[in-house]
Symmetry: C2
Subunit: 400 residues, 2 copies
Amino acid sequence: MPNKPPITFDVVAREGEARAGLLTTRRGEIETPVFMPVGTAGTVKGIRFEALETELDARIILGNTYHLWLRPGIDVIKRCGGLHRFIGWQRPLLTDSGGFQVWSLGDLRKISEEGTEFRSHLDGSLQFLSPEVSMQVQAVLGSDIVMAFDECAEGNASPDVARASMELTARWAQRSRVEFDRLQANGADTGRTDKNENLSGDQALFGIVQGASHVELRSESLARTTDVGFDGYAIGGLSVGEEKSVMWQVVDAVAPEMPSDKPRYLMGVGTPEDLLKAVSRGIDMFDCVLPTRNGRTGQAFTSRGKVNVKNAQWAVDTKPLDETCECSVCRRHSRAYLRHLHQSGEMLAGMLLTHHNLAFFLDTMRGVRQSIRSGEFTKFRQAFTEKLNEGEQQNALIDA
Amino acid sequence: MPNKPPITFDVVAREGEARAGLLTTRRGEIETPVFMPVGTAGTVKGIRFEALETELDARIILGNTYHLWLRPGIDVIKRCGGLHRFIGWQRPLLTDSGGFQVWSLGDLRKISEEGTEFRSHLDGSLQFLSPEVSMQVQAVLGSDIVMAFDECAEGNASPDVARASMELTARWAQRSRVEFDRLQANGADTGRTDKNENLSGDQALFGIVQGASHVELRSESLARTTDVGFDGYAIGGLSVGEEKSVMWQVVDAVAPEMPSDKPRYLMGVGTPEDLLKAVSRGIDMFDCVLPTRNGRTGQAFTSRGKVNVKNAQWAVDTKPLDETCECSVCRRHSRAYLRHLHQSGEMLAGMLLTHHNLAFFLDTMRGVRQSIRSGEFTKFRQAFTEKLNEGEQQNALIDA
C-alpha cells in the first residue's frame, strides 16, 4: 500500500474562476496552471531533455500509450525499467490512454463494448485496446498520471450517437478504475518498482468527461465520472475539429461543475489565447502539439502573434523572433537566420523553432500563474491579448 | 592595415613528427591538433551552437562557400553583418573555397583557365566561380581562415591530367593571393568591419597542395604553393575515393616537407584512426563530415569502434553508447532508447548521435594534444587503437 496518496492538489490562489495551484506528485511539484509538452513516442520532438529541464523548466511532459505500446512495445520498456528510465526523464510523466489515438484511426478501427480493434499504423497488424489493456500498458510505462480509457465522438455527433459514446466511456471509466486498482495492489507500476527511487504512493488515475457538443450529456458524463472517483478530471473530445464556439460552450458548462479540489485538465488545447481563456474558466492543465508541430513546419508563436519564418520579409531581418522573449534562441539568432535554415531544410530550423515555441508557451503559463497569485490575471490576460492582436494585425499587413 | 598578423602559430610540444601547437586567431586561441566540425550551410547539422561552445568546446568550425554563396547568398549575409553574426557564432570560422564542391558536381561543371562554370544543385541556374569570386565571397563571409581556390583531380588521374590540374591550382593560388590581398587592403572583410568587435588583423589565407596520387606532383605543388606564400597549408584532393594506401603515400611524402612554422591542414579527413595516424605525420588541422553525417544515419563512433544503433542487439540494452564517454548523451541515454528513436524516425536520434560523435572526435583530439604535451602520444595512440580493434572484433561477432 502507498505511504502517501499518489498526488495531492491544493489551490493556492484564485481570481474569479482562475486558480493557481500546486500539484504534488511522487516525482516533484508542479505549479498550475501548467502546459505539458507532448512527447508522443518518448521524445518531445526536436528538443533535448536537458533544455526541457534546465532552460525551459518543464515540470511534466506527456507520453502516448498508443505509440509507445506499438513501438518499441511494452516488453522493451518494461525490461528497460519503465518509461522514465527508458527515455531518461525523471520528472513527472502523464500518459494518455490510447483511446483518442485509436479513435482517430477512423475506418481502421472497430469499437465494441469490450474495446477497440484496430490496425496498427506502422505495419497494419490487428491490435486490440480496452480499458484493461490500456491500464496494463500504462502500469508498465510507470507514468505518474494515468488516463482512463475513453471513447471519443465526432464533434458534430447527433445526441443519440454522442449519448451512446458517452455511456460507453462511463462504463469504460469504471472498468479502468477496477483494473487500475488491481494493478496498483499487485505492484505492477514499473515506475515505482525500483526501490532506489524511494517513490511514495502509486500512480494517479484521471477520468475523462465526454459527450461531444451536448452540454447536458457533458454534465451527465461528469456526474458518472465523479461517481467512479478519480485523482483528477479531464475534458476530452474537444479541439477535434468542432467550431471554437462549441468548445467554449462545453468548457463554460463543464469546468465550473468539476470537483474544485482536483486538477482539471483540458486535453489537446490549444493556442496561447485558448490557454488563457480556459484558465479564466478554471482549467489547471493543458497539453497540445502546436508549439512542437508548428515549430517543425516553420511557424513561431510570439507575444505579437504568429510568425511564419518562410516569409520573404525576414530575409535580412536581424531581429529575434520575439524581441521580448529571453529564450536562448531569441538571445542568439535572427529571423533571417531562422528563415535561411528553414528554406535550406536544415534540422536546426525545427530544433530552434520548437525550443522558442515551448519557451513562449511555458513562459506564458509562468506569467499566468504569477498574475493569479498577485490578483492581476485579468489585467495580464488583457495586456497579453492586446499585444497579440496588435501584432497579428501588423503581420496581416505584411502577408497581404 | 592590420595591427597584428591575422594568425600566429606556435608549436609548443613535439613527439616524433607529431606536434601540439597553438593557433592564435583574431577570435580566440585554438589548440592543435584540432578537429573542425563541418557547418556546411551555416549550421553544424543537428546540434545547437550552445552545445558546441559549452559542452563540446569546439574552438573552430567550417563553413562551405559554395553552399552559402548559393543560399542564402552573399547579399543576405553581408546585410546581416557577415557569417559569424548571421549564424550566431563568434568563435573562429574557416571557409573552404568552393573549389572542391564545384569539382564534385561532375558533368554539371566545366573548368577553364578562368574558373569553373557550373549549374547550381538548387535550381539549375548557371553560375561561375573563380579565384577572384571565391575570395570576394569569403571576404563577405568574413571567415577567419580563407582557403585559396583550387582544382581537384580524380584520385586515379593519370600523370598528365594530374599535372595539368596541379598547375592550374598553382596559377589559381597566385590569383587567389592577389585578389585576397586587394580585398584586405580595401577592408572588404565583413567579419572585421564592425568596430565593436575590436578584431585585430585581417583574414588569414591558406594555400592547398594538389597533385592527385603522384607524389612528385605533390612535391612540386607544395613548392609552388609555398612560393606564393600563405598563412597555412592544406593537403587537398585526398579522401575522395582513392585507396587509403594512396592517401597515406601522399601524406607521408608531403607532410614532412610542409613549412613547420605554419599550420598543416589535411582536408576532409577522416576516421578517428585516420586522425591519429595523420597527427603522427605532423598534421595539425582536420575537418570531416563523418561524425555528423553518420550520426544522422544511425552510426555512432565509440572508443570500442563503430556502433550501429539500428542493430536489434541493442533493443533492451540499457548501457550507454560508450561506457567510457562522459558526454551528456552517454550520461543520460541508453542504446535501447537511441535505437528506438532511430527506428521511429525521430529527430532526436540524429541530434543525440551527432552530439555524441562530435564529443568523441573532440575528446579524442583533446587526448591527443595532452599526450603530445606529456610525451605519451605514441602510447596514447597504441592504447586507443588496441581498444578500438578489440571492440570492432566484438562488434563483428554481434553483426555476424
